[in-house]
Symmetry: C2
Subunit: 320 residues, 2 copies
């Protein structure tokens, strides 16, 4: 059964909305993660809640529904960073949560309501606290008729290396990467375009266009091989860029994360999307690209409105 | 004090979200409008709720928090249309609600969860029932360097006629119009492009690109001159199109709704937006255009994420 575009969105934007009846399950079966001054910044599963209480109760204010960073001990950025880094390192050493095996030595930023960094947290640990994470996704496309021979618009689609820890062998966006502290968006675009596609800074800055953002909230399924990651919350923000590619430029993998690049037509990509061969969250970026470029229209897509709303989800926590 | 882009969004996307504390005000001070088979399709203010009970109680199931179309009397499209048309006509004759002075003889469609028309309702009456309404907004733009002389991207901006009933003299999108039953989206684009800008069907269909949708929920302020419209809910869906304009084509008003067209640069439009001279909901379409074309970026716009989420609001009722 081919997947619809809405099926693909629903597989990534999983968490019920506050207006859904199912939201009661979110509220009743998870715990708010709260800043030292009272702002919700994430969402914890029961195993994480219990593990924090078991060993770090003195650093938090614990209630039956939430864990708050302690107003006395956590009132500086440094203190918060140090506490969370210590907890993540302890849990990694104790093999408490499987997701920490993906340790990256890369810090993600949690923001406060005035968009200032509130907490820095190891990338692999961010999903344990259910905080919002940020990345960039770049669609490298060759415009229609760029070769003067009437060829259609095509997109450079990489296949992930078979040895990648996550989603090996799946199709991906041309270039993508997490927004690690303290790098900016354009810096990250330039860095990832070189590492993943061999493109020069000069080329990228000349041909890159900011094109919006997609936002969604993922929640990990029950996993019998890794009960500790079951139900983890992962709200994500992906800044979107279009990169206009000259027909003669062929992206080249540099860092080994990509197996190969193929230049695909819109119809070919739609077929692969329907087959479920794209890494799940990258499918949403392809759909967004198609909508922005008039390649998915309200005439041919019955779920146009739900797709647009659920890929631009209003986040429950402060954002960048 | 110049208006920020977020100020402009907040002036149109007014209704609190279910996750906001202020949502209690929405819930407690309004009444659900419910289909004969139990689906929420709109929201009523107290004056509308009372007026329905006063004279049409036999056609509805009334509860303290909602009014439902009666399961026995309203189980066909024709019966529903007839009932609502009668009520709207009675209220118009009785001058019960000022918004009915804008009577258009144009029907809007309310949809059921499977995207099928559930109810047709006079345009001017739709806001009394707080149902979702639909329209098209078209940005006619001349691409950068279209003249070969290095000119920047520019947008055709009309000024509304001084005699228009709503927002006279304000700036607007190149072309816009409501989606009246039974017209399709492209049909409506073609019709409005001719009436408002004198553009031929042939030109429009060749140069028009579907570019997404914006959604938001407006609520009328207290109005001392028209208490009957105070608090009315108006959730809106505007399908967005970009229309590439050749430099030599100048839009011409045909139907008298537009006073004049001006070709404006992005900087000029940003200044007018900050001055509040655009019709409120059209400002959102300009902002969306700028975001999609890399003319507002996350580097220069601190509220980028909130703007994107609140112009792609997840609707609480079934949509087209």
């Amino acid at each position: 059964m081919p997947l619809s575009f809405l099926d693909l969105v629903k597989a990534t934007d999983v968490v019920p909305y506050p207006s859904d009846p199912e939201y009661a399950l979110v509220r009743d079966f998870s715990y708010d993660f709260i800043s030292h001054n009272g702002v919700k910044i994430g969402r914890l599963t029961a195993p994480v809640y219990k593990a924090l209480i078991a060993d770090y109760a003195e650093s938090f204010v614990v209630t039956p529904t939430a864990i708050q960073l302690h107003p006395d001990h956590c009132n500086t950025l440094e203190a918060r960073n140090k506490l969370i880094a210590r907890i993540a390192a302890d849990w990694r050493a104790a093999r408490a949560f499987r997701v920490l095996e993906g340790w990256r030595d890369e810090l993600y930023t949690v923001f406060n309501p005035s968009h200032v960094p509130y907490l820095l947290i190891e990338r692999a640990a961010s999903m344990l606290f259910g905080v919002i994470t940020y990345g960039v996704h770049i669609i490298g496309y060759v415009p229609a008729d760029a070769d003067g021979c009437g060829s259609p618009l095509r997109v450079w689609v990489p296949r992930r290396s078979a040895t990648k820890a996550t989603f090996p062998g799946m199709l991906d966006n041309t270039v993508a990467g997490g927004l690690g502290y303290p790098y900016g968006l354009l810096e990250t675009c330039v860095k990832e375009c070189y590492e993943e596609a061999g493109l020069s800074e000069d080329y990228v800055l000349k041909h890159l266009t900011s094109a919006g953002v997609i936002t969604y909230a993922y929640q990990h399924d029950y996993d019998k091989d890794d009960a500790s990651s079951t139900g983890l919350y992962q709200p994500e923000v992906e800044y979107i860029y279009d990169l206009r590619m000259d027909p003669e430029i062929v992206p080249q993998p540099v860092d080994g994360e990509v197996a190969e690049f193929n230049l695909m037509t819109v119809e070919e990509i739609k077929t692969e999307l329907a087959n479920g061969t794209f890494k799940p969250n990258t499918a949403l970026v392809q759909i967004d690209f198609f909508i922005r470029h008039g390649l998915i229209t309200p005439e041919d897509e019955p779920d146009f409105l739900e797709i647009q709303a659920r890929t631009h989800r209003k986040m429950e926590y402060p954002v960048r």
